[in-house]
Symmetry: C2
Subunit: 206 residues, 2 copies
């Protein structure tokens, strides 16, 4: 396959940019962007791009350019999970005011399909290093399901949302910190469990 011309690359990356923002450009919009007076300038570029396999043109459909990529065939659905700063007492209603950001990950990577009851938290403190969860890590949790012994859960303790390990001792549930310095055991019945950990994302400073 021939390589792309400079101009063709420009057109391609313009289409790509628009795709990211959720809109496939029409031929007229491409012409406007590059200052073309003629639509045929766009059309011929698109033809060449298709001939070289860089794009796929669906006949007769508006705004339906497709940019295939070797990655594309591996991609799974990307879902968006609210990153909460703090969880208010009571139910973990996902209020807009508590939202601090958004975590977007594909389903295959985190290994499960998030629901409306999914949310993310940023870990504060070293209390879970024993489970290899570090300060600053981003944890994705699921609100609702009953935790199993050994699960990492988020619980509301003194108004603060804290990560603990859920354990059962003598038939009674407890929460445990995974750090020798914070080796306290809290009866789980006194607490509201906000969610069960499902995934973790860590960024490493360059």
């Amino acid at each position: 396959m021939t390589d792309l011309t400079q101009r063709q690359q420009q057109v391609l990356s313009f289409i790509r940019q628009r795709q990211v923002h959720g809109e496939t450009p029409s031929r007229r919009e491409i012409a406007d962007h590059f200052g073309f007076a003629s639509l045929n300038a766009v059309s011929s570029h698109l033809h060449l791009l298709e001939k070289k396999g860089a794009i796929k043109v669906v006949q007769g459909r508006a705004r339906s350019l497709q940019v295939p990529s070797p990655l594309r065939s591996w991609q799974s659905v990307v879902c968006h999970i609210p990153l909460l700063g703090s969880i208010p007492a009571g139910r973990a209603e996902l209020r807009e005011s508590d939202m601090e950001g958004c975590v977007s990950v594909d389903v295959a990577t985190i290994g499960y399909q998030p629901t409306k009851a999914s949310f993310a938290l940023r870990v504060a403190g070293q209390s879970m290093v024993g489970r290899h969860i570090l300060d600053g890590d981003l944890v994705i949790l699921e609100h609702g399901p009953e935790p199993k012994p050994g699960d990492v859960v988020a619980a509301l303790i003194d108004g603060q949302c804290t990560l603990k390990t859920f354990i059962v001792k003598n038939g009674r549930p407890y929460l445990k910190a995974e750090n020798p310095q914070y080796a306290d055991l809290i009866p789980a019945e006194e607490l509201v469990i906000q969610g069960v950990m499902r995934a973790l994302i860590r960024r490493v400073n360059a």
Copy 2:
């Protein structure tokens, strides 16, 4: 704001589904999907959905329905990183044949803008537990940049791509495993460093 009718929810989720696949449906396609004989059925639904704030209709533009969401304003650009099964010797050319999957994450979450030299690996073995990197974790790396002391790097050792810590001792670079059981020190000059770790994603089995 009024709640959505059952039918309106159906229409909305159909639009959402198509959006995920990269295409916004036209009014005729929506009509076809639901078996409407009239376009006005679609139009009135869209009007009501817009009135209730569930969608945004851009006037006069084909396939330009937008589905706003409280999350939307927080979303950043999602990028797609190839998940490699094995890295062949020599340059880390991203060949299609080595691709095993695709990791999609947004830029804000992993904290940097990946390039074409970015790739992901699945961690095999316990050699990096000391750095809180576990067996099965997914690591995102950047090919190219010179590692700094203390960075986690992927290196090609005996044809296997392995994670190590990059350290400098007596002015000479070494690679070190972060596990007392594998406490060997390898001179870095003998090896090809494939990439520097930038982020980590861990999935927790439900």
